[in-house]
Amino acid sequence: MTHYLLSVHGPAERNEFGSYGSAEEMEDAFAATGAFNDRLRSDGYWVFAGGLAPAATATVVDGQGATPLMTDGPYLETKEVIGGFWVIDAPDLDVALKLAAQGSKACRGKVEVRPFDGLA
């Protein structure tokens, strides 16, 4: 089995409905994502998942120098950022891609599939 990071990419700018167009759309996406999460758990693929607070709440820390250097904001200022992710454990890429397609449909965002090189 291989671990994969499924990261959801969406607009950095969020409104009162997150990255969705309306309250209804947001609720539908949340419900579908919840159902998808349940399926991941029951089918044994689930490792971990979470939604992220807006990119504006991020802080970049560079601890390589004598004193750590803090910078407000995300590492890269981009229009599209990671909004959330799943970590799954799947037998191969075909399974991971299929799950990513389901996750993408549920949360209504594009999903990047990237294998872990290893887990600590």
């Binding site: 291989t2 994969y4 037998p91 191969d92 890429l93 075909d94 991971a96 891609l97 599939v113 990237r114 294998p115 090189d117």
Partner: protein
């Protein structure tokens, strides 16, 4: 045993796909499979010359490579996690069948054609791993530098390993969406075998047979899919003519082939397949191509070909594939139906100036129209655009045949001096010469312009860029007052043209003049291609004082700057480059001049 090494090489080449595929299945890793196959080749080269080729050379290679892989894994298992994992994976028994067809090579084919890989990587990997082409040959087939191809293949292999692209035939539900990529690759593998891109064997039956074998397996998987049936029909009807296609190491075009040499069994099978497609009536690209080939193979003699049927099928094909290459093939049929004038009119409109078959078709049409000078030029251009030995031999023979109709010397060439009578069979001038830069003014402008095809797959994106340049060169050739003195061009590893201009002002004027054929393609490039990144273009301009140029042409025809000016013998006291460029007061060549 004479020629044992050649036998080993041939067997290895033919068995490569099967060998790699079975090793990948056993050890679950492409790198390990390739290393072990390489070691088995070395072992065969050592042993077969003495012991003779074993009765089952493929089996020998498989067993030897498997043992080498296991030895290696045992040696290294404590050092390397990847190999440890592979050893755990080691599985000598074929897996339990999951679908209707189980075959290591079919499995590996689906891995190579996985949608998670870039399209250009899919065909490259397939040719490399299943076709046994070297990285250099694969690079040549794509007109990219070998290092680029090596990186592309390495990157794809790394992704397969790290992301765990599975080695298996997809399940029935997923097959249809995975199919197109596989069909394209199988057709390309067949084509590479039927007319190889490089200058090695002109035709490679091992590749055409392998493409057919895999297509047959695909059909067992998907018996109801008409495009699979169509592709198989197309490949069989084409393969049936392979034996008659090369004679005396020369390509023989369809119309001149000895039809008694065609494989009747393959033709009968192909015709059956085409008929079964017609019954399903869900036409597609490969089915129509198969039908066209059915018309050809149905004619007892070339003169009895039903060309109106062929044209009608090409019309239908155009709806699925409106590419200029299809239009070119349609024009060939039009030539038979409506004559060469009508066909030439169609051909001349196609943006295929860099494509050998376009030149060869034009050459043939011009020959039939007795436009000898232009025909000869087109044969030269076709010869320059292909590396296939049999095709070159055929084009040379045709060219000589046409050339014999007129005086032996004539104008026209792929490079040389603008506006002047250029000599195609430009005679080699024995001895040491230099360019007559004295005939230039104080300055000359050297302009390098080139392009890089970043995504060879996206032919329609880069063709217009590729073909814009020959159009410009023809125009400049006809208008010497524009200031281009001469040029040379090279197509490999990427198209590059060296131009010599009278002055920078001439060059700049041409680039910007609304009436010259540069501004429009430039605008078109910015509008359509620049953003996609499918094709890169570059240029470098050097304004050079003629006093700081030195040249030497030893046993060369007029070439480069000498073709743009004149070729003059090297003067006494000018034997060293330093003396010619004025960097040394005395003339001290490193070696005595010949």
């Amino acid at each position: 045993m004479p020629g044992a090494a050649a036998v080993v090489e041939r067997v290895f080449r033919e068995e490569y796909g099967r060998l790699i595929a079975s090793l990948v299945r056993r050890f679950g890793d492409i790198d390990i499979a390739e290393e072990a196959a390489g070691e088995a080749l070395v072992a065969a080269l050592e042993r077969w010359p003495e012991s003779g080729v074993p009765p089952n050379p493929g089996g020998w290679l498989t067993v030897t490579a498997g043992n080498r892989a296991i030895d290696r894994l045992r040696r290294e298992q404590l050092r390397d996690a990847k190999h440890r994992a592979a050893l755990v994976h080691e599985d000598p028994a074929p897996p339990a069948p999951r679908g209707p067809v189980e075959d290591d090579r079919l499995r590996l084919l689906f891995t190579c054609c996985h949608p998670a890989l870039a399209p250009e990587a899919r065909i490259a990997l397939t040719l490399r791993l299943l076709g046994g082409l070297t990285v250099a040959e694969t690079a040549q087939a794509f007109l990219v530098p070998e290092t680029t191809m090596a990186q592309r293949i390495t990157r794809a292999k790394k992704k397969i390993a790290a992301a765990k692209v599975p080695y298996r035939v997809p399940e029935a539900a997923d097959l249809p969406e995975r199919l197109d990529a596989v069909l394209v690759v199988l057709f390309l593998v067949f084509n590479e075998g039927y007319l190889t891109t490089g200058d090695g064997d002109p035709v490679r039956g091992d590749l055409t047979r392998e493409a057919i074998r895999l297509t047959r397996l695909l059909r067992l998987l998907l018996p109801q899919e008409p495009e699979v049936v169509g592709l198989l029909g197309l490949l069989l009807l084409t393969e049936a003519r392979r034996g008659a296609r090369v004679r005396d190491e020369q390509l023989v075009p369809l119309g001149e082939q000895d039809r008694a040499g065609w494989d009747r069994a393959l033709i009968a099978e192909g015709h059956d397949l085409v008929r079964s497609c017609l019954q399903v009536n869900r036409p597609g690209r490969y089915q129509i191509l198969a039908a066209i080939n059915a018309v050809h193979t149905d004619a007892p003699a070339a003169s009895e070909t039903d060309w109106s049927q062929v044209v009608a099928l090409y019309d239908q094909l155009t709806r699925f594939d409106p590419s200029p290459v299809v239009a070119l093939n349609r024009a060939v049929a039009i030539a038979e139906l409506d004559g060469p004038t009508a066909a030439l009119e169609l051909v001349d409109r196609l943006p295929l100036v860099g494509y050998h078959a376009w030149h060869a078709t034009r050459a043939d049409l011009l020959r039939r129209l007795d436009r000898t000078t232009e025909a000869l030029e087109s044969y030269d251009a076709a010869i320059a655009a292909t590396q296939n030995r049999a095709e070159r031999a055929y084009l040379h023979a045709k060219r000589d045949e046409v050339g014999a109709r007129r005086s032996p010397f004539r104008a026209g060439s792929a490079g040389g001096r603008i506006g002047g009578g250029r000599c195609v069979m430009a005679a080699v001038r024995k001895g040491r010469f230099t360019a007559d830069t004295g005939s230039l003014g104080d300055d000359v402008v050297v302009f390098l312009i080139g392009m890089r095809i970043n995504r060879p797959w996206r032919v329609r994106a880069w063709w217009p860029v590729f073909v814009a340049m020959p159009t410009m060169l023809r125009y400049l050739d006809a208008h010497p007052e524009k200031g281009l003195l001469g040029y040379e061009q090279a197509f490999l590893p990427a198209p590059l043209i060296v131009q010599y201009w009278r002055s920078f002002e001439h060059l700049a004027r041409f680039a910007r003049d609304r009436d010259d054929p540069h501004l429009e393609p430039w605008r078109e490039f910015n509008r359509r291609v620049a953003a996609s990144g499918d094709v890169g273009i570059w240029h470098e301009t050097y304004r050079v004082s003629t006093a700081s140029i030195e040249t030497i042409y030893a046993n060369m025809p007029p070439y480069g700057l000498a073709a743009a000016t004149d070729l003059v013998p090297i003067k006494r006291g000018r034997d060293s480059a330093a003396a010619r460029i004025g960097a040394a007061a005395t003339d001290e060549p490193a070696l005595p001049p010949y």
